[in-house]
Subunit: 394 residues, 2 copies
């Protein structure tokens, strides 16, 4: 589509993620401060639009109509577009995609995409109830089919069909926690985390143990997206959004197809690759949705980084690590950074910008990247969202 | 922006609105059936994207991640973009704006924008609590500053500053309920509703009475938006989206400016008018956000249909009625049709299509329209959203 304007990612910031003594509003205010400190060239009045990704503030923070609340807390007065998007665990990428379409179409020039989520309620029972309504509540969630049991079924099938081992699951956890140890905004620091130790942790839903699961996290992240013609005002290292893909298969679990062959992700990825004019072999690093260790293994396969059933071997052979074929989750992933639903997709985009600008700590810095891929899934892996970025220096 | 593709509204449908014995999912399924019956040319597989407007399914229907649930219920498999937008009472228009940007930028060709809301819970206390969190809950909502008291304050100030009368408020209600009587999907039929009767109804928040307030409504609506190059596949009377404007002023009521001079709406309207290349005098009919009668009066002024303070006289003189200057809310408005939050903005767009295609009943049909304006506000009138449409026959 030649009529589409080029869109650039020119900066971003996150709060510290974890169990935070901060309200939803305070997290929004905090990420606003962090963003303006990270980008001294950015003036609040220049930001014409705000795209907020937030999954369940109605349940977790008892607040709706969160977009203007977020704008106010960040000190912004959106005068072109203001919007909150919800797509459960992929709400953040949804906000970025909206900002992308708005800028590409000329409706916005300078937009903030922000994600805010406050998940650590006083009551864990309430929080679990809120998570259950991400699934088809009446058919699935109310009967206990929340995320851990669903992904445990995926893991069991993958083990049965492909011989994937608990050691392979632990290898994903070990890698991502190692990267998180060098990420100052991550929820978890696990200096002595190794595969053997991970396999002795308590079971959550067999075969998934504590170290196989991402967590309930409070946190916020924000990025700035602009028409590429304006990008150099804000950074010497703009990153271009080159590809976008989504696919929604089903909702009710009774309509799910194979648990281990994620057809929706293959569709979404193909669409993003074709739009960007690249393939899996071109990707230098990827931020993928490791809500559970097994997810990352299936994603290697569905994204085309390796063949069907080879995901376990792929991680055990170090092919998704620094020095491997595609560095996967150098930020630390959802496993290491935590998973504040609406903020996760934005936090991944912050990492994309920082990697391309060479700001990431050496122990997790991807050497000379050109192409990056970001993936989010939502619900029972029934919706997949993929974006592809290119460093402008390339 | 010459690079933007033209976007056309090519059809739509609604469910019956009211207190419905139907779940959220059933309303989504019902509107899907209605849409495919209204548009036999539309094939489910042609729809590449779904944009859902829904305000509070988490609170009203105990369900999140509603976009894929809606897609499944409607029989759709979105393979480009799937998204839910939330902007409280303006969630529906937010979905249309997202669809517009996606099509204008070439990311989507054929999109469904749908609104679904189930508000009539078993417990009205729960429903009120859900509505309170549309405001800044901690500062405003928790202290009782929900919509009726806020708009009552607007009315009191407007009466004080401009001499607006209860008779003028009742005139808005009378007109919109009269139009609703000829709308088969409307919540209310009030054959004997006149200004005198309206002024004898019980007070809700002085000076607002029962007939001055829109209601808690269950309902759904859907429209189809396409790249204009494809429009004639679906209809002989496509309607073009020509202007878009939004503005977010504040959230916490302590930061509100004048209660009666809606600066944010003036900004949003100016932006939409400039983009469409028209002014208030060009508008043939308008669907505006009459959540309360006083809202419509302030909107006449802020949209430039009349001067500051003249809104009361404007309606009493019939200038917003059939045969007047701008036919306002020929659908029946939120007052007559009900206000299922996320469905309202979509229902207004269905009306825009039907008016331009000459399908509206004669007693509320706008003669030979060329330009239409749609307005939604959200929260305490702190966010305003405006779109302008042009009939393609013009």
């Amino acid at each position: 589509m030649t009529e589409r304007r080029e869109v650039a990612l020119v900066g971003g910031a996150t709060t510290r993620w974890g169990v935070r003594e901060a309200t939803w509003s305070e997290l929004a205010q905090e990420v606003g401060g962090a963003l303006f400190r990270a980008m001294p060239e950015l003036k609040a009045g220049d930001v014409d639009s705000l795209f907020l990704g937030a999954a369940e503030p109605e349940r977790f923070a008892f607040q709706s109509h969160v977009a203007p609340l977020c704008a106010e807390q960040m000190g912004l007065t959106p005068h072109r577009i203001i919007q909150r998007t919800e797509l459960a665990c992929a709400s953040g990428q949804s906000a970025i995609r909206s900002a992308y379409a708005a800028i590409a179409s000329g409706l916005s020039d300078i937009a903030v995409a922000v994600g805010v989520e406050k998940m650590n309620l006083p009551s864990m029972a309430e929080a679990n109830s809120a998570m259950a309504c991400v699934m088809d509540r009446a058919w699935d969630g109310a009967h206990g089919a929340t995320a851990p049991p669903f992904f445990a079924m995926v893991a069991q099938r993958h083990m049965l069909e492909h011989g994937t081992t608990e050691d392979a699951l632990a290898a994903v956890s070990e890698k991502n926690h190692r990267f998180a140890n060098a990420n100052p905004s991550a929820q978890f620091y696990t200096k002595t985390f190794d595969r053997a130790k991970i396999q002795r942790l308590p079971l959550v839903a067999p075969p998934l143990r504590l170290g196989d699961c991402s967590s309930m996290t409070d946190g916020a992240a924000a990025v700035v997206l602009v028409s590429n013609a304006l990008a150099r005002r804000y950074t010497d290292t703009p990153v271009l959004l080159r590809g976008s893909g989504q696919y929604s298969d089903f909702h009710n679990l009774a309509h799910a197809g194979s648990l281990t062959d994620w057809v929706g992700l293959k569709h979404a990825a193909r669409q993003a690759y074709e739009m960007a004019g690249v393939g899996p072999k071109d990707i230098d690093f990827a931020e993928v949705h490791d809500c559970f260790t097994i997810s990352e293994i299936v994603e290697y396969e569905s994204l085309g980084f390796c063949g069907p059933g080879e995901g376990g071997r792929y991680v055990l052979e170090g092919r998704s690590d620094l020095g491997g074929e595609v560095v996967v989750n150098p930020r630390g992933g959802l496993l290491g950074c935590g998973h504040p639903l609406g903020a996760t997709g934005i936090g991944q985009a912050v990492e994309v910008f920082e990697q391309f600008s060479g700001r990431s700590p050496a122990s997790r810095r991807v050497p000379d990247p050109r192409w990056a891929l970001v993936h989010n899934l939502s619900g029972s892996a029934n919706v997949h969202s993929v974006m592809i970025y290119e460093g402008a220096a390339a």
